[in-house]
Amino acid sequence: MRVQLKDIRKSYGSLEVVKGLNLDIAEGEFLVLLGESGCGKSTALRMIAGLETITEGSLMIGERNMTEVLPKYRNVAMVFQSYALYPHMTVAENIGYPLKLQKTPKAELQSAVLAAATKVHLEDYLERMPRQLSGGQRQRVALARAIVRTPSVFLMDEPLSNLDAKLRGAMRAELKRLQAELGITTVYVTHDQIEAMTLAHRVAVMDAGVLQQVAPPKEIYDNPATRFVARFIGSPAMNIVTGSVADGRVTVEEGAVPLEGYAPRERVSFGFRPEDCSLVSPESGMMKARVFSTEMTGNETIVTCEIGQDHVVVREDKDFDMKPDEWVGIDVVPEKARLFDYDSGKRVHT
């Protein structure tokens, strides 16, 4: 179902943790709330679930105003970071618990439990207790418990962060497939940008209780709305160098990059991604820098350079070979560069 958050705020006493959140989540959409820990994303999710009261604003799920409705009447399903399995119940009882509460007839309940368990490949573990399962299997039980009753919204609070890296990748793929198959609106909270980029139809980036940008992953990556989003998305992160704009170029401490069409500015944050720049000889480069360190990752080399006070990361191919403190030149692809206001961090357009 469609979920609408209208100017939602949450305060604990005088401390405001969510500052006016507006989101319109379409039916069947997979929306990822992305941000650092403490940015208010989990609180936002818990407000949709009804586990936290909404201080101000309104929440609509479908056609119904849910702002003041108890969690049990919202028909949402939530997967917790800790899985929150009922340790004294078998896997089958865990999965069937929501249906049992709805007084579903026994035969119907059993077939629904089996169907949900089959979807997450748990059909052989129905009689086990949670303590007899591995982390990944527990995660699947939590998922099955969420999908067993066709909720109007799925809410997921960092569901994969307790799994090891390899399992996380596999579960991510399964989760994406499962959501597409069921077509149920999903709000997914994470601090992991890879999860956000790979799973989401749209990513909502939050910082300090404020929504920074809502856009599809590619748009978020190519056209970050703020310096925060630019730095947060991408690994290694976007390079930000402080400089000034005048006469169709950005001047930094050790050189200048031609950039047409920007109004002159005294101070500006000049951003470009590590793959949108390259190392050349110090004489011919747009900017001059010193090599700070090099890291060979296998398929490429991550080169960190120093321009004045700023560090700039450049992706080079794996055969790159230079020693620290050598001088290099850096060329930037001008049309891939982005400018942000130095003080507000907002994107500056041509």
Partner: protein
């Protein structure tokens, strides 16, 4: 490596999982010593119950059939000659201890759960208002003879008026921890201080020497212990489980019954046993409240120390049959006092 000396071998652990021989010896010596301290009185009570008076007085004899010839005379006296005079207190003890414990555990767990999951904020002004009105009500009824139901109704109405109007202006408030401390303080108070008022109260309402009076008193006295113990057990249950159940569609009572209580089972069993033992062995309150019909076992045991001096042989029989049900209960409940129930609930 150099050969280790005898003393080195004595004080060095042979492996990481084993104790050094010297510490092993010391540990077992202490354990055996303590076991004797605990078990010997039980053994003595058991053999004394099979002795004749002269064998007790001539003693000490410790080994049946060798030191003395066992006799069932004390058992016969207690069960055949006294008959109902033994069985009635026995039955009373069982009824009173079990009922009061069950009630205390039910009410106490509900209170403990509320103290863990609900934040209370009771204004001190409201409490002061309540106490003043309560005092005024009692004074008015006793001094001026106003009808009690009318006085109470007026006081209640005044209280609600006060709480909703002036009460809100008080800043200082009692939080959950204060409430918990107040509950515990009820138990810190020595029972001997409260026993006379309790006696007078039951005398006034004509409930002296009844099961109801005993059950109500024991329940009230043991409630603080239940609240205190259960609070910790409930606090140990991850809140995620309850929130998850809430989203799954369960009501608060349902969550308590199907999630919280089953997970607190070890705590419930331990608390139940402790409170049962306290109620089972209680003497002082029983001495005041019960005289004949509601008399419990501890009174009967004490009564064996009568005008003819302590009759150890009868007392021993009573103690043996008094210990038996508690031992049985402990064995029954032991398997519930298992740990590791929470494994698998959260995280991987």
């Amino acid at each position: 490596m150099r050969e280790r000396s005898f003393f080195q071998r004595l004080f060095e652990p042979p492996s990481l999982t084993e104790m050094a021989p010297a510490s092993k010896l010391l540990t077992y010596a202490i354990l055996i010593g303590w076991t004797i301290v605990v078990l010997f009185p039980l053994y003595w009570v058991l053999i004394t119950s099979f002795k004749l008076p002269f064998q007790v007085n001539d003693g000490p004899d410790f080994i049946p059939f060798i030191d003395y010839q066992p006799s069932g005379h004390a058992w016969r006296y207690i069960f055949v000659e006294l008959g109902n005079d033994t069985l009635r207190p026995y039955l009373n003890s069982i009824i009173i201890a079990l009922t009061s414990t069950v009630l205390a555990v039910i009410i106490g767990s509900l209170a403990a759960y509320a103290l863990v999951r609900i934040q209370y904020n009771v204004k001190i002004g409201t409490i002061a208002g309540f106490i003043v009105l309560l005092g005024a009500t009692v004074y008015s009824i006793n001094r001026f003879g106003t009808p009690w139901h009318l006085t109470a109704a007026i006081a209640l109405a005044l209280f609600f008026f006060f709480a909703t109007s002036f009460g809100r202006y008080f800043k200082r408030a009692l939080k959950n921890n204060d409430i918990l401390f107040w509950i515990i303080s009820n138990r810190i108070l020595p029972p001997v201080v409260a026993v006379l008022p309790i006696y007078l109260m039951f005398q006034r309402v004509g409930l002296l020497d009844t099961h109801v009076a005993m059950i109500a008193t024991y329940m009230a006295v043991n409630l603080p212990i239940v609240v205190w113990l259960m609070r910790d057990f409930f606090a140990g249950i991850p809140i995620d489980l309850e929130e998850s159940a809430e989203i799954d569609g369960a009501s608060r009572i349902r969550i308590f019954a199907t999630i919280v209580l089953p997970l607190a089972r070890p705590g419930l069993a331990a608390t139940f046993l402790l409170v049962l033992i306290l109620a089972w062995n209680e003497y002082l309150l029983a001495l005041f409240i019960s005289t004949a019909d509601a008399q419990t076992m501890p009174l009967l045991v004490a009564a064996q120390n009568a005008t003819r001096g302590p009759q150890w042989w009868y007392m021993s029989v009573l103690i043996v049959i008094m210990i038996a049900p508690i031992v049985l209960m402990t064995i029954l409940l032991q398997k519930h006092i298992a740990r590791g129930l929470m494994v698998g609930a959260v995280k991987g």
